[in-house]
Amino acid sequence: MSEQTPRRVYDAIVVGSGISGGWAAKELTERGLHTIVLEAGGPVDFGGKDFVEHIQPYDMKFRGWGDRHALERDQPVQRQCYACDETGRKFFVNDHENPYTSPSDAPFKWFRGRQVGGRSIMWGRQVYRWSDLDFEANARDGHGTDWPIRYKDIAPWYSHVERFIGVTGAKEGLPQLPDGEFLPPMAMTVVERAARERILKAFGGERVMTIGRAAILTKNHNGRAACHYCGPCERGCVTHSYFNSIGSTLPAAERTGRLTLRPHSVVAEVLYDAKRGRARGVRVIDAQTKKEMVFEAKVVFLCASAIESVRLLLNSSSTRFPDGLANSSGTLGRYVMDHHYGSGAGGTMPGFLDQRTIGSRPNGIYVARFRNVTTPSKDFLRGYGMQGGSGRSGWGRGSGMPGFGAAFKQSLIDDLGPWSLSVGGWGETLPHPDNRITLDPEVKDAWGIPAARIDVRWRENELAMNKDIIASAVELMEAAGCTNVRPNRTMQPPGHCIHEMGGARMGKTAQDGVLNRWNQAWDVPNLFITDGAAMASSACQNPSITYMALTARAAAHAVAELKRRSL
């Protein structure tokens, strides 16, 4: 790096502008810090050309099937995500510019978005609090390291986040799935209501099917409009009815007058000042000009996503930290997790043919974890939640339905077909040291930064749990009264669930993890990592709200420490 590299000094640097980065920006600026957010991707014009949720099939060249040849050419990995479709593919990276590697016998799917807003633009929006069943899990069975926090530490921050983002859900009073501060729940379908009651009865109340808890507004909230039920949130939302950072946290940060947002800023390295034992700032490559520059700050927040933040630390080695910054514990890059998912069951629900849905509900149903809550399993540790939905297929059943001619056509117009109901499991993954991210010795990205090499495998516990997911999904469908119940045995490879986490975990001591109870690096006190990398276990709940709560909590702590001059 040349001495002429331009220098800019801020109070805080935030790397990444997605779910976690947006929260870091909001909390740090609102607490008085002049903050620069460095985003590797470009800006998104939410009101103009980029948010296209109301595009109808007839306005798309391929009528929703996607530009297959372009996807196969540019996004062979990304296209495997459901949201990377004809209109949504611009929110996913080009796989050739952004390579990663994995062993041939351990495929890993890494679905990524590089733009202002990150993956908060096309995320699944499901939000579930963790409970002490989750925070105590590692301590109880000895896998992974004990979390240095418990539910009481994070509960007020869950509330803080929920009040700002708006979360729809129904209170159920389940200790393993704590209720939040909910906006009114979305309606269950008539079939889901029947299934809920029948399942409650069949399993003595142990298995609870509830409406999904989602970061979508069911009434106007904090200057954002209630959902209008058009359906495809993953394409964007001009009314900001679902939570993303560009419609909520980043504007809040902007309003303080202390935010600088710099798109096209690929962070290559966290610079370490060995004399002070602190992070000095970051080295950035401008994505467009490829020019290098340095930004300096009193505090650095990494919110680049679990794998990116770990990769960045691994690429920030020095004499003091030859194996990656803040890695005196040797745990950096290890204990990487995702949720194993894809398996479940579906069936046909007889009856209810005189009823239908109106509107596209961008939310499903959720079955709270029941394994190893009250009834222990002899086959595996931890547990899973289930997600699913119901509906009538309408004309979509036409290509597989026998018939032709006027009656065939009229049936597709008038009859919606039978109701279907399905659920699939989202399973907890045990933290394992060999589920690991390293730097690939050869492959580099378009900016010359070494690519991540990701070796994550489903192991004995995940495979045993997956079997149970299929069996209990079948039981649920049968208890609900379904006929034609079909097990689904598709267990997706790691990464596919897009809940990748771990790699820079929290630990109770500097020997146990990269981060302390405040998401603060044990080795580098002014360095905070508040995305999924911080997770010491995976639980089975969708993790984003936990990242948000931990980020807000860490930002408050960082500012307090700065004021005490202890950073």
Partner: protein, 195 residues
């Protein structure tokens, strides 16, 4: 997105009345640039390159037999063939194109074999007999059966995703403004938003 669709959707949506100012501004900007939002700069069709004249005639006749005009438009009224041309030119692999073209040839051969006439010239009972043979085929691995299933999928998808059918037949609401999970079947209109 076409401006009039958006305006119609907006007017129909209870949610829009409640839009906060920021969202309203975003909405106005979206309305101001309808074409920028439109990735479907509509298909440049490469008509005729993928099908022979006979194959095209067979496909048009098959589309009409699958979804004929009644009191609502038929498959050819909404020009399903135009979209199939797009799929043939810019979506299918060479192998998939061949499944359809050789399938159409096999359907034509079947018509000749069963009735001594071109598929495209069949009407009434002879047409019904050939269609029944294709639709009810127990062996799904023949060229005719594979071509028929593929063509049927294309015709159904192309028909129900067409602007005219979405607007006039299914009366799809773009912004319903509410979700009801137990509405009576007949009290309202609206197709499934996504297939």
């Amino acid at each position: 997105m076409r401006r009039r669709d958006l305006l119609r959707a907006a007017a129909a949506s209870a949610a829009l009345v409640l839009l906060p100012r920021d969202a309203e501004a975003a909405w106005a900007r979206a309305l101001g640039q309808p074409n920028a939002a439109d990735p479907g700069a509509m298909p440049e069709t490469t008509q005729g390159t993928a099908f022979s004249a006979t194959q095209r005639a067979t496909l048009l006749a098959l589309a009409d037999a699958l979804i004929p005009r009644t009191d609502t438009p038929g498959a050819n009224d909404v020009r399903v063939i135009d979209w199939i041309d797009v799929i043939m030119a810019d979506y299918y692999s060479a192998e998939e194109r061949t499944v359809l073209t050789t399938g159409l040839d096999a359907i034509e051969a079947l018509a000749q074999q069963m009735s001594g006439r071109a598929f495209a010239s069949l009407t009434g009972e002879p047409l019904t007999r050939v269609m029944t043979a294709l639709d009810g085929a127990t062996d799904r691995t023949t060229a005719a059966a594979k071509g028929y299933q593929r063509a049927k999928g294309l015709v159904v998808h192309g028909y129900f995703t067409s602007a005219r059918v979405q607007r006039e037949v299914l009366k799809t609401q773009i912004m319903p403004g509410r979700f009801v999970g137990d509405a009576p079947l007949r009290t309202t209109t609206g197709g499934s938003h996504h297939e």
